[in-house]
């Protein structure tokens, strides 16, 4: 197989992957975010403590996550037809991908939101804030960097899942590697596809990390270390190692290092 044979295949596969992963990731975030927040709110000691709701959602999430993706895809065939009107092609793959990713992202959201200091929730309660205020002004903004990291993880996982979407004729890079590369012994094409996947995932991870760091105001510096590396560490050269250490310590520790100067 020559490059001119491979090129259109690869191009089509790239677009298919982008299409499937893009839509399913969007749906996963839209669906997983409220679910994850609800898991935290209804948990014991949460603002909307409700053991029954919490256990039910938790179980649904667990069952959905324990199901192998290929089984989920087959199990959802009739549901897929109901939603998008077909059971083959990239559109058909989006449905099971999104449904598989919603509980995945919901769990990650739950972990991220749980990390938010309970004292902040209490502070907003003491100001007379409602549960909605707490979610909108505290839980989501404070966990935003972690939510973005979680979305990155979800997107990367979706790219992995999308390889199986070939089963429903959805195409995509993973499918290309399996059908042409592995099954037809086009080793070259397989390696090229794998290389493209590696590059795509690296870029997504990089952008995700950059966004997460850029939005985090917890530390002293909001500049991502990787950006500094790109600049050859020039701006940091004269700085002592204290700066990265300060990022690690919580606010309570920082103040003991630096006494206040109050007028």
């Amino acid at each position: 197989m020559t490059w001119s044979d491979m090129e259109p295949l690869l191009e089509q596969a790239c677009w298919d992957t982008l299409y499937m992963v893009g839509w399913s990731a969007l749906i996963a975030v839209v669906g997983g975010l409220p679910l994850g927040v609800l898991l935290v709110l209804t948990d014991r000691g949460g603002v909307l403590q409700n053991v029954v709701v919490n256990k039910v959602i938790g179980q649904i999430v667990n069952i959905a996550r324990s199901m192998p993706f290929i089984i989920l895809m087959v199990a959802l065939i009739s549901f897929t037809r109901l939603i998008v009107g077909t059971t083959i092609g990239p559109e058909a793959a989006i449905v099971p991908l999104a449904i598989g990713a919603i509980p995945f992202y919901a769990r990650l959201v739950e972990t991220s939101v749980r990390e938010v200091d309970g004292g902040l929730v209490e502070a907003v309660q003491s100001m007379g804030g409602s549960t909605w205020t707490i979610v909108r002004k505290v839980l989501l903004p404070e966990s935003l960097p972690a939510l973005i990291s979680s979305a990155t993880t979800t997107i990367v996982a979706l790219i992995g899942y999308s390889a199986m979407a070939g089963t429903v004729g959805a195409g995509g890079l993973g499918d290309l590697a399996v059908r042409y590369g592995y099954q037809r012994f086009e080793t070259e094409l397989m390696w090229i596809t794998v290389a493209i996947l590696a590059v795509v995932i690296s870029v997504i991870q990089f952008v995700g990390d950059l966004a997460a760091r850029g939005l985090s105001h917890r530390g002293r510096s909001s500049v991502a270390p990787r950006l500094v590396l790109l600049r050859g560490r020039a701006p940091r050269a004269g700085e002592p190692a204290a700066a990265p250490a300060a990022r690690e310590t919580g606010p309570a520790e920082i103040e003991s290092v630096e006494p206040t100067k109050v007028p």
Partner: protein
Amino acid sequence: MITTTDLTKVYRSRGREVTALDGVDLHVREGEVYGVVGQSGAGKSTLIRCVNLLERPTSGTVSVAGQDLTALAGRGQGAGSALRRARTGIGMVFQHFNLLSSRTVRDNVELPLEILGVSGKERTRKALELLELVGLGDKAKAYPAQLSGGQKQRVGIARALAGDPKVLLSDEATSALDPETTRSILQLLRDLNEQLGLTVLLITHEMDVVKTICDSAALMRDGRIVESGKVTELLATPGSELAQELFPVGGVASGEDRTVVDLTFQGEAATKPVISRLSRTYNIDISILGAAMETVGGHQVGRMRIELPGRFEENVVPIGFLREQGLQVDVAAVADGPRANPTPLLKEGAK
């Protein structure tokens, strides 16, 4: 201003019951700074969190500014709109500041105003004004992570004041700060109390806080208030544990036939040369075993433990003289009695 009646809080976990508050009656007058002290686990934190109902009391009532909050709370778990509205009139300051790391200092102060539904322009104006008031006018655009502990607490105070509260609750606000910063934050609270007529209820394990800014104080132990009142009156109360903790005077008698006397000076008596007069009038040698002199709420107050030669029977007249001078006189019964070895009441460090 703040009144709690027979406040009880019982925590139930895994079948065990823990009584955090056991019938607490607290009365904070308008415009005063009221300190609640006690060991960790005494229930102070639960008490202050019950005042704005962050913690639901098991029984009893809480009223702030004449409004019965426990009646507003209703039965459900969540806070109804009536309770939320009442909370906007009660500011709260926390030990660990609880500032939102994702917002700038100014936006943090604006948060309560957003909850109150104040318009954007008005919010900014008010926030900058409050930051100016707490001495952080130049830090409006900084993020909390860029501030020191004392500065963070100033932001916390500015935020607590944003809703123009009548009452400020302070939950160990200075316990995570170093002594110097503590002093400056306490001074700020005192200024706010005087300038804005703010009623402040604070809990602390640091006796210095009470000494520095409190008009009144209460001592808590095992969920009960064991002693309370105006600080100056407490100092004048014989056998007051709080007075003993505020001004610990140590020292034991040097011999068998000695009389140990604890003196408390207040107001005018504090300025009189009582000891030298006593010595000259009765021609006796007086040794000072321990002494502490402080300014409490603008008054000079002091405690001193002195030793007179001879047994108590021989010293009735000099002791009478001391009483005549307007001092409060406690005679330590026996050298190794409870007053001679005061059990340290507050040893707890910052949580």
